[in-house]
Symmetry: C2
């Protein structure tokens, strides 16, 4: 009746939804879920088909995208390791979920998940909290999109990525003063789609942050946070900040 070895060895067990369940709900879930690798770019669920997947993200990043008929796209959410992906009970909006990087998932069909959930109401309660947290993030994102400068947007995104990627990489470690050697899960284009900007604008802001010694980049898909404090400042209120204060 013990959990399978893959659960005991699971790097996100505590941080994920599973970590908040009791022994038997966790066990019941473990019986229907299985590991899976998904290559970057794969669509996990799209606007058309019924979202019939439930998954916990073990590694990699998933982007949630709204696409309109005229081609405009907006990334409205990012899911990191330990987050869940899926839309139990959900209506058909124009939302799709796509692997931004190669993923490791622990997943099952939506139907199987709903069955386990019906037998273990605690899962429902935990899911409710997770969705409420997602709602909070979505609203904070709306603030970012509506009320901040390009500078703040880019800095906030890098800050978010630094926090979430570092947490999933140096687990257990004491908090580091600054995050080094982080992989950047998004292209410039995708960053722009996140932030309601054009990719050229994202580039320019990245260049500025580099020249101010806030970050540095290595290749296209990696960066360092040289000064977390500065980054936080840039994210919070770039407008109230002169170049002197920032450098």
């Amino acid at each position: 009746m013990a959990l399978p070895p893959r659960c005991n060895a699971c790097p996100v067990r505590e941080a994920s939804l599973c970590g908040s369940l009791g022994e038997d709900a966790a066990h019941a879930l473990s019986r229907v879920m299985h590991r899976m690798r998904v290559p970057a770019g794969r669509v996990i669920y799209g606007a058309a088909e019924r979202a019939d997947t439930f998954a916990i993200l073990i590694s990699g990043v998933v982007k949630l995208v709204i696409t309109k008929p005229d081609g405009r796209q907006q990334i409205v959410g990012l899911q990191f390791p330990s987050d869940f992906v899926g839309r139990p009970f959900l209506d058909g909006s124009n939302l799709s979920a796509e692997a931004a990087t190669t993923l490791e998932l622990c997943c099952c069909s939506g139907r199987a998940f709903e069955n386990v959930m019906r037998e273990h109401p605690i899962i429902e309660r935990v899911l409710l909290k997770r969705i409420a947290a997602d709602l909070d993030s979505a609203r904070n994102w709306a603030f970012l999109l509506g009320r901040t400068t390009a500078q703040e947007k880019v800095a906030s995104l890098l800050h978010l990525i630094a926090e979430r990627m570092a947490r999933s990489v140096v687990r257990g470690d004491r908090e580091r003063p600054c995050a080094l050697g982080l992989s950047l899960p998004l292209s410039r284009m995708e960053m722009a789609e996140c932030l309601g900007l054009r990719l050229e604008t994202v580039c320019r802001q990245m260049t500025q942050l580099k020249s101010r010694g806030v970050i540095s980049t290595m290749g296209r898909r990696a960066f360092d946070v040289l000064d977390m404090e500065k980054l936080r400042n840039c994210a919070a209120n770039a407008t109230a900040m002169t170049v002197e204060e920032c450098v």
Copy 2:
């Protein structure tokens, strides 16, 4: 064991969360909830205090606002009659809920609600669906903020208000070709705070919509939709639309 008279006479009973509950869960809820009037401008819950209210909105409009230390504000959600207001189980973000107009609420303490919920898990399931729907709205709002022009933003907001206000006013009526004599629950300033714009920009867009015969206004807090089709077009893709096509 019947529901109290105020429930049977409740104008939003079917559309609200209560309408999706079984007989006894609805009855249990009705015993802890009570009617309340709240004047416009009152803060229902704020960033500081623990959000300890749960309410179903019977009439009026509630705005959900994020305020940053530097004074920037963004309205990240509107709740209309039949929606719920409150944050069961929720973390402290910088979100506050404020009455945009005079409200009629059916409410109880968050604690009381959680107690009833624990005894009637169906409430949890229904709440989960409502929150998931809110999450969807929040993400669609993020698209609006990130990827649309001022024109589309204003048109979309008016369209949303027309839909939700009409639904709560002419309940039961067949769908009207266009909504007339709608009350506008927000000031220009609040509209701007919704849309990530300045109030002057909102004004200019309103003026344009009027001159194109899409809407008309009567006083500060009322408007008509003269041509719902045009409004929908303006909301969907103002950029792809010349003045000729619109007029």
